[in-house]
Amino acid sequence: MNAHVTQIRALARRSMLKTLRQPFQMFPIIFFPLILLAVNASGLRAATRLPGFPTHSYVSFAIAVAFIQGAMFSLINTGTNLAEDIESGFFNRLALTPLRRVSLIAGLLVGVAALGALQSGVYIILGLIAGAHLHAGLGGVFVIIVLGALTTLGFGAMGCVAALRTGSGEAVQGLFPLFFVFIFLSSSNLPRNLLRTGWFHTVATWNPISYLIEAFRSLYIFGWDGAALERGFAVAIGVTLIALLAVVGALRTRLQRT
């Protein structure tokens, strides 16, 4: 096997193990989105009676938000883990091997994407148990896992940028509220066409998170909505590409290795 593939695989494995072995990192990823789902589903169930609300099941409507919340937790976990590596000198240990600069981050992010796929699978199962109906069926499961992994990869890369720029786990964690507010300023609780407050509708329309949520949501509620999936994947790919470019720049500054 190609040496670089072996190196990336080894780093990806280590990245996954580091997260999976920290219960305080796994707990929010799995349970926080589901607790919020339960709260929203019980408190906002009446919204399904609004004229134009696309489904009678608020759980099917709201489960999409869990995928984004999970990805945001990955941003914090990935950034915190990388910052810890920088602070502890583990990053230097990796830099002292013949590993290529890009492989160093690629290994980490492959692990993040794999975890993103895993956590998406968990949300799908727990959502179905909670009563969500996945209209797109088995094909939808596959698309959700791919989109979940891609979204988590993009957000994880943002966490890497924060870690490489600051080198501080605390600084990365301080970013959490900043990113989380994007979820609330999106179509997370109501479809955009039902948001009556003018400024909120405008912000939600400009907020890329809305399109990610709507792509996940479309698979649950409508089945195969090409336009929603197109927009969702475009946002996920765009965010990932921008974040990866930023990672490359930040890595060049952090790692002055000759």
Partner: protein, 338 residues
């Protein structure tokens, strides 16, 4: 730089090395040094002297501001990957992942150095045994003691059989037993032909372990030679007296000052360097007796490396730190980002 072909295998040649940081801080200020293949070279100095920055430059983690350095025959700026393949390094603090086991660390390190699966397992087992961690191999590193972490760190640095090993303060914070065990391991490596570049702030470590020493202060090498050679440059012993009554310390100092300049002493004692050697000892005892100063303890010290440091810098190495113990030498020394 004219490279010495003998140094090409696993030696180090440094000429005029300078490393500046933002804000005009010069951490390394024109260092010249040569480390012969198979030698244990000790780099002794207080915190903030420039030791770790030098190691970061020599291990390719920081580019130098000026000067040249060749490690194992390769220029550290132009041939970074070749240098990294030739060296092993255990940098300050044990840079380990607390959530991985010792064996998982070995596997990761082996994979990153391109070892195949079978070789990785064999080499991992061999090194875990060598550093005495076979029984703890499948335990998470978070539960290891400081000594165990340091030993694992050393084992990891050896995975790819480097010809040259950099150890940056390998025994800082370790108890005597762990420290001695690590010294033995370093000696064994040197016996196997590995060149060792060791930084330390411990005089005893430098004295016991190093074949040759460079003493660094404020970014400059102030003395270089074997420990014996360096101590011979001082040449004079010192006498230390501890008064029975601590209140008589000043009177005691005044008496000893008649026999020589003040030397480093323990907290409750007073010491003087004896320019005429131990021949003055009887005279000192008589003088103390004449002054009626009761002495609890009287010792003669052979010259130490601290005396060398004191002679070269005007300060004692113990307590000469310029920055707090828990911070690194210079801005960016721990973390290469500016």
């Amino acid at each position: 730089m004219n490279s010495d072909p003998k140094m090409a295998d696993n030696g180090i040649e440094v000429e005029g090395l300078i490393r500046d940081f933002k804000g005009g801080v010069r951490a390394v200020d024109g260092i010249d040094l040569r480390v012969a293949p198979g030698e244990i070279y000790g780099f002794l100095g207080p915190n903030g002297a420039g030791k770790s920055t030098t190691v970061l430059v020599l291990t390719t983690l920081l580019p130098p501001t000026a000067g040249t350095a060749r490690v194992a025959g390769f220029d550290v700026v132009r041939h970074g990957p070749e240098v990294r393949r030739a060296i092993g390094a255990s940098l300050q603090e044990s840079a380990l992942d607390p959530f991985l086991t010792g064996r998982e660390h070995m596997r990761l390190q082996s994979a990153l150095h391109g070892l195949g699966k079978a070789e990785s397992e064999t080499r991992g087992d061999e090194l875990l045994a060598r550093v005495g961690l076979t029984e703890a191999a499948d335990r998470k590193v978070g539960g290891y003691s400081g000594g165990m972490k340091r030993r694992l760190d050393l084992g990891l640095a050896l995975v790819h059989r480097p010809a040259l090993l950099f150890l940056d303060e390998p025994t800082t914070g370790l108890d005597i037993q762990s420290r001695t065990a690590l010294w033995e391991e370093v000696r064994r490596l040197a016996d196997d032909g590995v060149t060792v570049f060791l930084t330390t702030q411990y005089l005893e470590e430098a004295d016991v372990l190093a074949d040759r020493l460079g003493i660094i202060d404020r970014g400059k090498i102030v003395a270089e030679g074997t420990p014996a050679e360096l101590k011979a440059t001082i040449g004079r012993p010192s006498v230390e007296a501890i008064p029975q009554n601590p209140g008589e310390r000043e009177r005691l100092a005044a008496v000893l000052a008649r026999f020589g300049e003040e030397a480093a002493a323990s907290s409750n004692g007073v010491a003087a360097r004896l320019p005429e050697g131990v021949g003055d000892l009887a005279e000192i005892v008589r003088a103390l007796d004449g002054e009626g100063i009761a002495i609890a303890d009287l010792r003669v010290h052979a010259p130490t490396l601290d005396d060398v440091f004191l002679a070269k810098t005007g300060r004692s190495l113990e307590g000469a730190s310029e920055v707090p113990e828990d911070s690194d030498e210079q801005p960016g020394a721990e973390s290469p980002a500016p």
